[in-house]
Symmetry: C2
Subunit: 282 residues, 2 copies
């Protein structure tokens, strides 16, 4: 693992590392924010999954989350959104397929399957690496994300409810098997078998009995992708049927941008902090 950068912020350090990923068979970059509390003791961690076109940089620069992580004494773990670099398959003319569009799945179709193993990377390889090398409490983690990353956070938690203390999302792609972004990506990465797609679709997972205790979602009403790509109504309905406590908040007038995330990230971090600290207290 190689340290690329260390920047002091809110009394803690925002750092960036690269490491060779066995899952993705390439160098991967992530950022981590360690609040000052981590100098004295291990802290719990919030994983943040970013959306299409993003790297680890967008969230750390635009969301204003470090302030709240510093206040709450929580580490932020900010992975990349796909494998990238020389030799990694891409579709440069499309922003929603290939690099920066990994969709947090394990690809099964050639040539994507060689590197696009983001689901295992996020759920297994990266937490193991983080817990080995940084002052974070092993196993005490939560997950959140935005858009494609909101989808990622939902499926990671629904498929591994005991691995995450809590889950939240901003403007998630709730039902990727039914929207253009998701159909194209899942088709490319997983082939034509729709049953495989459903294993990475939050709505289908809930319908098929996957459960978490509670979910927090914020969604802006002025989000330009709301009706075509996000399909929150399907998630609301599925959670109602399966009696999952979904706190779905329609936020009047907010769009799909980081200005929306910045407005509510403090509430999300406080939300996760409650669950993380309860887990540590147990």
């Amino acid at each position: 693992m190689k340290k690329l950068e260390s920047i002091k912020e809110f009394d803690g350090y925002l750092e960036r590392y690269s490491h060779y990923s066995e899952c993705c068979q390439c160098e991967m970059v992530f950022s981590i924010y360690l609040p000052k509390q981590a100098v004295q003791e291990k802290v719990p961690a919030l994983y943040w999954l970013s959306g299409l076109t993003c790297s680890d940089d967008n969230f750390r620069v635009k969301a204003g989350a470090q302030r709240y992580a510093s206040e709450q004494g929580i580490a932020l773990i900010i992975p990349d959104t796909s494998p990238r670099g020389e030799g990694v398959m891409d579709f440069p003319e499309r922003y929603d397929l290939g690099i920066a569009a990994g969709f947090y799945v394990n690809a099964t179709e050639s040539p994507w399957d060689k590197n696009y193993q983001m689901y295992s990377y996020i759920v297994e390889e990266l937490p193991a690496l983080i817990e080995e090398h940084f002052p974070v409490v092993a196993g005490v983690k939560s997950i959140s994300g935005h858009s494609m990353g909101g989808h990622g956070a939902l499926i990671c938690a629904l498929k591994n409810p005991s691995a995450y203390c809590s889950v939240s999302a901003f403007s998630p792609i709730c039902h990727p098997t039914q929207v253009p972004w998701g159909k194209d990506a899942l088709g490319a990465y997983l082939g034509n078998d729709m049953e495989k797609w459903q294993q990475y679709d939050a709505v289908n997972l809930v319908q098929n009995g996957h459960k978490v205790e509670t979910i927090l979602v914020d969604q802006g009403t002025a989000d330009e992708f709301l009706s075509d790509q996000l399909k929150p109504e399907a998630l609301i309905e599925a959670c109602e049927q399966q009696k999952i406590n979904l706190n779905f908040r329609m936020q009047e007038g907010y769009d799909h941008s980081y200005h929306f995330i910045s407005s509510f990230i403090g509430e999300h971090i406080a939300y996760h902090s409650n669950f993380l600290k309860k887990e540590m207290g147990d």
Copy 2:
């Protein structure tokens, strides 16, 4: 004036406008954040001047200031750092001269003098435009900035002490007449007469009797430009000699980036808020 964008953030609106500037003889773009309080009543304004290579976008995306402006009920006015666009003189191979490097002076040398009139734009034209079109309290404004913009904030306040309720700066170029960035820019824009340079140098202005009541400056000790370009020791000495209350805070371990600004912008906005509200109460 043309509205380019309006984005909801922290219950207020972050907007971007373009307008024809008589000072700069070209279209100029600025951003304004109007907190929700501005729907009910006029609010005071904080002008933010950005540094080299920036436009109005950097501060609004990276500093996290809107949260505090929302809490305090203060408008943020975020101008561009130079004229720009077709026909505007530039030096594309240099980041510290021409576009995004206006240095907040009125250029006197051809060809710069045609458009590079940033001092008058910031001090006169833009506030008049803002106070005519937006719900801000006329004449109740403060000013802050970063690096080249920290220099800009200091000189605007020192040259117009009654126009600004308070002034602060992050990592300002304190003594531009004596450092590489400043010498090159002032030489290009103002020619060889060093007396003209000194009219835009905070240290020289203080030495020559320009006064403000108090100044707040934050400076990181890990700032890569500290020793070569910023020269805060000269400002500290000049303020001591002239009995100006300079609260100069060396912040251990912080660099020159927006991660530094984000860590302390809340304290700066609270600082300005005190002065602005005192002025409104009088």
